[in-house]
């Protein structure tokens, strides 16, 4: 069966497809959230041992790590869509990038906020200019810069292109910042935030954390698709397909 992927690049086709997927994504989100939160609070130890004897506050890990991962992943995906838009000049790609940005910004903020409330009881401070924390803050400014620049330019097509360029430049900067300071050998580099190693995590804790990550991922899809449908309707409000879709009482 031949499937023409480029058909999906048309706003009306994606509008309908997204509309069908959204309820499924919400269902997934709820199931994963409930599972992840239940597991994290009731199937794990309340205090840790070993080299990292944290007390109950360690449970912030179940939203902190998923938020941080989503903040970075969503930025990457946003840039991919921005690049596709610039290369193929497809409107929908730019709309997708715009749909992702606010959700990405929220997860970045949450990574910083939850990190602060975890840092205070564990390290002893809400904030520190450690390389990893600073990098995440930079990422937050990147998202804000992207959204603000897009809002500042009247012509939507020019706004799309300008902010797409900014996002791409941002993507180059982020790993440069991150790895220039977080060099591979921890004995050579100074930092407060530890490096991550999934193999050193208890399986119940890891399960809850990964479940929450997938929950946030499903949530991001749902939120982004809703926002995208809104953007599509805004931009194509005067078009024939929108008129026809809503003339018959459609949604």
């Amino acid at each position: 069966m031949n499937f023409n992927w480029f058909k999906l690049a048309s706003p009306p086709a994606f509008y309908t497809l997204a509309g069908r997927l959204i309820p499924i994504l919400w269902g997934l989100t709820i199931i994963l959230l409930v599972t992840g939160l239940y597991w994290g609070f009731f199937e794990t130890v309340s205090q840790l041992g070993g080299n990292n004897p944290q007390k109950e506050y360690y449970r912030i890990i179940f939203i902190h790590v998923p938020s941080a991962w989503m903040s970075m992943w969503l930025y990457f995906v946003m840039v991919v869509w921005a690049a596709i838009g610039l290369i193929f000049n497809t409107r929908l790609s730019f709309m997708m990038a715009n749909a992702i940005a606010p959700t990405g910004a929220i997860f970045t903020f949450l990574a910083l906020w939850t990190g602060a409330f975890w840092g205070r009881p564990s390290w002893g401070t809400y904030w520190d200019w450690d390389p990893r924390l600073t990098s995440e803050l930079v990422l937050f400014f990147m998202y804000i810069g992207y959204m603000a620049l897009h809002s500042a330019i009247d012509d939507v097509r020019r706004a799309d292109r300008a902010s797409a360029l900014l996002a791409i430049v941002g993507l180059v900067m982020v790993p440069v910042i991150f790895w220039s300071i977080n060099c591979p050998d921890p004995n050579q580099c100074a930092a407060l935030h530890q490096r991550s190693n999934l193999t050193k995590i208890d399986s119940d804790i890891l399960f809850a954390m990964l479940t929450m990550t997938f929950a946030f991922w499903a949530y991001s899809f749902a939120a982004t698709f809703i926002r995208l449908r809104t953007i599509i309707l805004h931009r194509d409000a005067d078009s024939v397909w929108v008129r026809e879709l809503f003339t018959n009482g459609g949604r």
Partner: protein, 53 residues
């Protein structure tokens, strides 16, 4: 239940973190629905107006 809420004395930190996450995600969802409904209403109104002509 109160033991769960107390979280070993670290309630402030845990619930501040989880609370903000819940708050922001709920706000985002509510805002998304509001914006979507607004644009749909606008488009339906415009479609109806056109029909009358």
């Amino acid at each position: 239940m109160s033991e769960f809420l107390a979280q070993g004395g670290y309630a402030f930190f845990i619930w501040s973190a989880y609370g903000m996450a819940a708050l922001l995600l709920v706000i985002e969802v509510v805002q998304l629905r509001t914006q979507y409904k607004a644009i749909v209403a606008r488009v339906i109104r415009a479609a109806r107006l056109r029909q009358q002509f």
